[in-house]
Symmetry: C2
Subunit: 213 residues, 2 copies
DNA sequence: ATTTGTATGAAACAATTGTTTTAATGTCAA
DNA sequence: TTGACATTAAAACAATTGTTTCATACAAAT
């Protein structure tokens, strides 16, 4: 039961920090949820802030395992890769396998603290580079910094459904928003992006390949 | 100096709530910044929460005045309207005339509280409906709920540059991110969106009209 | 000048915060 | 069993929190 306490503390901290943020979450609440004594956080982590940082790292580990980045066979058409990427990203945002973990990471991204650098290095950058590679394949003629703008447009679309879900649901109604599930959003963003890249004519090929692999 | 205290209290509350959030901001800090006594918040607003709500409303008023929605002459081509809309939205996000006000509103949108409904009604919905009208003009053939997806894609792109600025800057480097100013982002999002709508061929017309009106 | 009501100021209140101390408990090797 | 060490538990600490009390200052009206 020795390191189990530390583990339970991390899980509880992840959940409660994700829910309320650093300041609003109290160590007493976390310890109660973990079934541990208040002194435990000092014993294992030193203070509240270091517990927070460890909780973010913990969340970031859980997140990376959830929905892994696709690995493609050589020769996979870049269009297929793009749609796969968008699907993975959208799924991670809309149907995260570990909701609290993602929530805590998003919190950290919105207001970066000490734990942010590692999150970017281990979680964000790999996805960003993969997307850049796909876009380079699709449009070798576009200069690098313009490719960044394309990338921002794609992930911006995906992130919207998480970062602004409450507002969007308030606008179109909760029941109306339910219709926009992962699959529909994925297809929309893919089609929207392909059109923007001037590759709209190649869309049917991807859609077909999706239905009958 | 009577109602001036209330006004200064609101301004200070807006600033500090925007900076730290509801829980982390203390009434003593706000009162000190406003040059008022701690009892003033109770006297004028009752308690901290009602001060917060009033601060959000105050912020939302400041925001609406800053960069007004464009009003077009009859006969303005919808393409021009779209680019104008994107420019206004992007400007509001990247170069807000009242930084603290916008920050507080974004905070409220990320974690809606009691003040959120009014913000949506008075600030968000008017913009949403204007965008929907433009899109309907551009693509009358597309059904309404698909138009919502288009709208989400557009505002998702714009919001990215505010909600994820720290991360984006961390990815491409701060100096690299500086290159993406309002004008360049506006042109990119407009071109990206027109391509997605299958109207890429009409882009030059807008760009020209922009340079020589 | 007196009175009435509003506004401010300083102090105190009770509750909660993060953190520390100290004693008790458990565990495992000698 | 004894000892050493790791872990837990309860209590106390000092600081900060939102809120309230009450006396004072000020204003305008009678």
């Amino acid at each position: 039961m020795t390191d189990a306490t530390q583990e339970r503390l991390l899980q509880a901290a992840e959940e409660i920090f994700a829910d309320k943020g650093f300041k609003a979450a109290s160590v007493r609440e976390i310890c109660k949820a973990a079934g541990a004594n208040v002194a435990a956080v000092n014993y294992y982590f030193g203070d509240k802030e270091r517990l927070y940082i460890e909780a973010v790292k913990y969340a970031h580990r859980s997140c990376t395992q959830g929905e892994p980045l696709p690995v493609w066979l050589p020769g996979t058409p870049p269009l297929q890769k793009l749609m796969d990427f968008i699907r993975v990203f959208t799924t991670r945002m809309m149907k995260p396998s570990a909701a609290a973990s993602l929530q805590l990471m998003m919190r950290e991204m919105a207001q970066p603290t000490a734990a942010c650098v590692e999150v970017v290095r281990d979680y964000i950058r790999p996805m960003a580079e993969q997307l850049q590679a796909i876009l380079r394949e699709l449009r070798p003629d576009v200069p690098p910094d313009a490719l960044y703008l394309y990338g921002f447009s794609i992930v911006g679309q995906c992130l919207f459904y998480r970062q602004n879900r409450p507002i969007a649901a308030l606008l179109v109604g909760e029941e109306g928003f339910q219709k926009f599930d992962v699959e529909r959003v994925t297809r929309h963003i893919t089609a929207f992006t392909l059109g923007a890249l001037g590759l709209a004519d190649q869309l049917p090929a991807v859609a077909t390949a999706e239905v009958a692999p």
